[in-house]
Symmetry: C2
Subunit: 339 residues, 2 copies
DNA sequence: TTCGGGTTGTGAACCGGTTCGAACCTAACC
DNA sequence: GGTTAGGTTCGAACCGGTTCACAACCCGAA
């Protein structure tokens, strides 16, 4: 392994001169710098990350704590992860990924042993057990997902309230008077998935304000249960003409359910969902949707985190809670209700 | 930050004694060990990872080089990643994730700066540009995916030949005499995705051996193109009674295509695909399939890598190329051909 | 000629661990 | 009683970087 000492010897200068020549933190004569650079090239020198981390107490690594839960749609997580990963790299950071069941253990390990300069938490629950650990840690943290208590961390999330309102308003404007909303399983809510409630409550509120009926239900997360759920709902509310999906499995299962009943959207039923463009195109879903832009959230979280790491923002500066507005993409699965 | 010196001071011993007491690499009196352990607990001491890496030249980190390519099904990659991640953690390693476009750069960075003890490469192409870099690196590497040249690395992949044979044989045994095989886009093959060919050739060979007709075609990777592809194929080969899918997008799009034509499986057409159980259940696909067990491949790769890292296997020991046999899961979408 | 200031380079200390060789103490043995 | 062996512990060196304090040098101005 080639070290800074080898470079110094070949260039005929001291180790500190090599360090300064490479970091640019002090003026070095053109001559010396030239010799150092030549030596670096000749030897193929790359600084040892561990040694540098030890000396600077900076690792240039960000921890990413993913959280895969049952009854949640795993591929959606991938979008967040990619946003985080790509942005981190653009800003010069590498990514230490943990998919460990026990997020608190992973977080403690990364933080205590100083493997990371900061941490991004994905899929944050209302009362997330990782948060107390993060607040006690010396490294800054950024969240994707809204917890009950946001003190001491920067938070980024989709504006689920707005998403709920948007979908109801869209259908009401087309003339629908009775709607069904299928949410994620109740289980997800109980576990702390507050976004389910946030969307549902806002949708209810919007429906009441517009004077229309909204039947809100939880759906399963798997076949064949979710198919039966959908069938049951359509049977129970035969007069409903608008269907709102906040449940990826339901979106994936709907085409065959509609087929079986001989229905088609938007002729017999207007359908609108909440999922990302990526999800729609990957799974060939041509329903209109409000998009959740997961990679954008990951990107924002990392940007803010790096600002904190690099001291551009101090711990005294206020922490942000930022909501991204969803956008409605019309894919033609909604229209006026049947006569 | 609390260091080994702080622990030593509180316990009234030297730093080396603390180190030995914690690592167990030398005998330490019960008395001293007790005092050290108490001090560790009281101070909440955790060794600094960078310092330890520097001293031992072991990082206890594995690099994971994912590779997301256009026209490939991203969520499948997630399964591999999870297998790798979980197994690494079980074996005491953390994971440095790169999703960088230029895999060679990421690999060089991780390797040269000694951030990782070994590397797992996902989605390896026939002539993968990361391989020369990996062979020149001092760290061992394990691959998921079969490259043209396997020297110097351990390789794990699904047995795509076997998968192709299995599907053809299954349909032939049921009485089918004319089959269609839809593969991934040709683009993927040209880029080095050899698995497409491997399955296709083996399927062709098996069809010839059984004396049945096989129409092999490349399909798109997206809607609506893949839907048109499928429709076109069914129009072109109206006598085909068996459909083999080696293309996730096709599997996702097929239900609506069949619906439009008023067909149902297996009554009018027997359908069998190649994808993981995870994929099938997430996307509500109830087609029979040969399963690709991605998490198992990730797990095997990490196991072998760690054996190399820890010197249980030396670089002189032969490198392995191991194929996992696919398993046929019958979900009832295949049957005897219509009369 | 001398002095002061700026530029460039060096040596040493430091980051926080691990590990080697030697020293120390005690008990056992001759 | 002296020697030896074995079990513990310690000090120092080392891993490969960064950075501080200081020295040498050069230039121009007084």
């Amino acid at each position: 392994m080639v070290t800074i000492g080898d470079v110094a010897r070949l260039a005929g200068v001291s180790r500190s001169t090599v360090s300064y020549a490479l970091s640019g933190k002090r003026a070095i004569s053109d001559q010396a710098r030239g010799r150092v650079e030549a030596a670096v090239r000749e030897l193929g020198y790359t600084p040892n990350a561990g040694a540098r981390a030890l000396a600077t107490s900076q690792t240039m690594v960000i921890g990413l704590l993913a959280r895969f839960l049952e009854d949640e749609f795993a591929p959606a997580m991938l979008q967040y992860m990619l946003g985080v990963s790509n942005t981190a790299r653009e800003l010069g950071y590498d990514l230490l990924l943990s998919t460990e069941e026990d997020g608190t253990r992973a977080l403690r390990r990364m933080s205590d042993s100083r493997m990371v300069d900061g941490v991004v938490l994905l899929n944050v629950a209302d009362e997330d057990d990782r948060l107390p650990v993060l607040r006690a840690a010396p490294q800054p943290g950024a969240l994707v997902g809204l917890p009950g208590d946001c003190t001491g961390v920067d938070v980024f999330d989709l504006d689920f309230e707005e998403a709920g309102r948007l979908m109801v308003d869209h259908l009401v404007r087309l003339g629908h008077r009775e709607l069904i909303l299928v949410s994620q399983p109740e289980h997800v809510v109980e576990r702390g998935g507050a976004y389910v409630w946030r969307l549902q409550n806002a949708a209810r509120e919007a429906a009441r304000a517009r004077g229309v009926v909204l039947h809100a239900a939880f759906g399963s997360s798997r076949q064949p249960e979710i198919g039966r759920d959908l069938t049951g709902l359509l049977d129970t509310y035969p007069d409903a003409t608008g269907l709102i999906l906040n449940n990826e499995a339901a979106a994936a299962a709907l085409p065959s359910v509609l087929h079986e009943r001989g229905l088609s959207a938007p002729r017999d039923l207007s359908v609108i969902g909440r999922y990302s463009e990526e999800f729609a195109s990957t799974f060939s879903l041509h329903y209109s949707a409000v998009e959740s832009a997961p990679d954008r959230l990951g990107r924002m979280a990392v940007r803010q985190l790096v600002r904190r790491i690099e001291g551009e923002i101090s711990p005294d500066d206020p922490y942000v809670v930022r909501f991204v507005s969803p956008e409605l993409v019309d894919r033609g699965s909604t229209g006026t209700p049947p006569a």
